[in-house]
Amino acid sequence: MKKRFLNNQIILLLISLIVISSCNSNQDNKKDLNQDDLSAKKTKNTALSKDMQQQLDTSIRDSSTVNASVQKKEEKPKVIIYNFHLTNRCLSCRAIEMATEKTLQTYFAKEVKEGRVKIEILNVDDDANKDIAEKYEASGSALFVTRIFKEKETIKDLTGEGFKFARTKEARFIELLKKQIEEYLKIK
């Protein structure tokens, strides 16, 4: 009788042990689950913050690009070519104008479209051009390449080169003018 009671006691203890352990394991599972949730949340949060950071970075980068491009646009030098002439024009004078236009069409079409390179053909006999002719001291045929950068003007007088080469050595004149314009378009 005593032996039977002991057996029952052992079985009960075992069952209770099993129940307790299963309960513990459930709790562990729950804990694990909670930890998973947390880590998932953490990962999610990290991912979210990464996304936000990326977005922030992109927006900062974008804004800096915009700023840079605005600055770049502001910083690009402009070139204006002033071709002065009298009312009665000679062959050399016409040759200078033709060669200048050819230079712009051949090598600076993009810059002309953007407004970075411009040609002004001006008759010095015309009263409307009096001020600009006085500024450049142009009393007859003359060719000036002007660089405008950061409100500063630099002027190169190519009148002599024009008369020396434009009519008889057009290619040489075009090369000279091209180099001068390229030099003036550089940011330095």
């Binding site: 024009r89 050399s92 009393s139 045929s141 007088d157 008889t168 050595k169």
Partner: protein, 143 residues
């Protein structure tokens, strides 16, 4: 009579050509005396501005350097750059169109060429300024 008439005409014609050559270029080519050369190149089809530059150069020399021109200290060249006979000078002076240059000379040796074409086109329409400034430019080589 007809022959005589033709002879007179031909003599007059040749004299005119001869005088034209003399008027174009005035050189003594005396290497020991030569101090400065003034050269003006032009193309065959000349415009008023080009002719004015030549006229102003001549005026300057007539007004201030007659003595040097006669003594051989100064040589004046007026040259058509499109004529084959001037090819060698055209190459030296890079003068393929209207070009005004001054070259100092010491004991027959030519010094550094001063190309004043741009200056000439700038000042040509103000004769007084052209004359006085060209005078200074030439004088600095003669002194």
């Amino acid at each position: 009579m007809k022959k005589l008439f033709l002879f007179i005409i031909s003599v007059m014609f040749s004299m005119q050509i001869f005088s034209q050559i003399n008027a174009d270029t005035i050189i003594s080519n005396d290497k020991n005396k030569l101090r400065v050369q003034v050269l003006y190149f032009h193309i065959t089809d000349r415009c008023n501005t080009c002719r004015s530059i030549e006229a102003n150069v001549r005026k300057t020399i007539d007004a201030y350097f007659q003595k040097e021109l006669k003594s051989g200290e100064l040589d004046l060249y007026i040259l058509n750059c499109e004529l084959q006979k001037n090819d060698s000078l055209v190459k030296i002076y890079d003068a393929y169109g209207a070009t005004l240059a001054i070259t100092p000379c010491v004991k027959g040796k030519a010094g550094k060429i001063e190309d004043i074409t741009t200056w000439a086109f700038q000042k040509v329409h103000n004769s007084d300024v052209f004359l006085s400034e060209l005078k200074e430019k030439i004088e600095k080589y003669i002194k």
